[in-house]
Symmetry: C2
Subunit: 306 residues, 2 copies
Amino acid sequence: MSLLLVGTMAFDALETPFGKVDRIIGGSGTYAAWAASNFAKPINMVSIVGGDFPQEEISALEARGVSFDGLEVVPDGKSFFWSGKYHMDMNTRDTLVTDLNVLAQFDPKIPESYQGSEYVMLGNLAPAVQISVMKQLKSRPKLVIMDTMNFWMDVAMDDLKTILGMVDLLMVNDSEARQLSGEYSLVKAAKKIQAMGPKYLIIKKGEHGALLFFNEQIFAAPALPLEDVFDPTGAGDTFAGGFIGYLARINDVTFENMKAAVIMGSALASFCVEKFGPSRMQELTAEEIETRVNEFINLANFEIRK
Amino acid sequence: MSLLLVGTMAFDALETPFGKVDRIIGGSGTYAAWAASNFAKPINMVSIVGGDFPQEEISALEARGVSFDGLEVVPDGKSFFWSGKYHMDMNTRDTLVTDLNVLAQFDPKIPESYQGSEYVMLGNLAPAVQISVMKQLKSRPKLVIMDTMNFWMDVAMDDLKTILGMVDLLMVNDSEARQLSGEYSLVKAAKKIQAMGPKYLIIKKGEHGALLFFNEQIFAAPALPLEDVFDPTGAGDTFAGGFIGYLARINDVTFENMKAAVIMGSALASFCVEKFGPSRMQELTAEEIETRVNEFINLANFEIRK
């Protein structure tokens, strides 16, 4: 099934306890597209880049079934740039530099060829941009998921509430869920957030896995315990891309399939963190994914004897 | 199968964001015995109390199949007293008062009637006390599990290393595992701790569940997401008691059965935190446990469609 991805394509400079890289490829759209391309095509990308974004990165994604009809290239502009430093726990980080560059003028136009996309992922962007995308869609997709962050809760809460009323699923981390709801208990936080609009909620907890909420049902997915997390950048976007890519392939939106999609997203995210940037995602094979998913089954599976 | 429990029977004074209690019943032995008594008997308790410990608490446990042949009562002594205050996350706490009282002179004597106990739990006590118990056992039990804490790593590391070489399973929380191993990654920490002796390791992560390690195998058990954690005191001891009580009933020490035992321990711990002290454990029914275990199955269960 066709998948619409709205997200950034960018450059990152990263520092982790394991090393440092300057200006590598990044962006929520990039990570999500690599992840989703393991499961679904076409992937209809909506993004904006400057003239400095390498054509070979775009071509590599095209070869994986990604369409760039919705990519705006600003020839004399510079691509979005983010620089950050991770702490030892790899769950917290300091932002060193945020250069919006062309992202400041991002006003996405959904091409006619993208109409009818049945699965939609709105990456972490200004809520006004996410709203604009939803308003341009001529038919309601089967599933719309979105990401956001604490920054938008601080500066654009009204718009954020509007877009929350337009989507099916919100994906945030635990501290964002607490900030958005004003509740410390994640169960209480989930109820308040679901009342804001999204029927489904995923709360990501880094090395502690993720929780999926739907009505009174909860699913707890473990994270794969890893010897080393090399670089967590993009893990959340990879999770999101794997999640919606898998659902687009199965094309049957049920809570049971969402549970499997959470595992699939977690499996892909566990690869993403093994190397700096999206490089691990670019070399990933179907066999590796299957093996990793089996590791998750062994990790979570149990049987009670009476 | 018979179960030997070595732990404290004590008084606690507690403060949580939900309230405050003065001088209620506590102690690792008390919590573990209540939990284990749902599954196994006899439970052979080894502990020490002062003349101030209420006889009705002892009688209530006797009615559940707990033997007190190994309880030392010091008529003119005072029972161990601990007072603490929990922070909002309920995973961290400040100790306000630790009055060892009779615990300072605890030199357990294993009664002849306890010899042959096949399952042994060494609660969090001075490693020298844990060693003394092991040396008094005339036959090697099928399974010996132990708890410890950061305090013993600071003041009795040599003894701690000795007892680690005598047990099958260590149960600690994540910060204790990191301190004991000097490794931040829990996977690396587990390898180092297993090299110290225990074949099995359980790392408890509070609201994030628990990890069970055995050779290269890992099992990740979720914690039940709760609206409120009323009082986490005793949750770890309840987990331990439920874990070993279930294994004693099944009487077949395999990794698969340990996975189920971790779920059983987690289920009992999820009740323990619902009220102050052991009161919730005292009123618990078999039906409630079965319902709660089914909640864990729903929480963790998934199926991957191709």
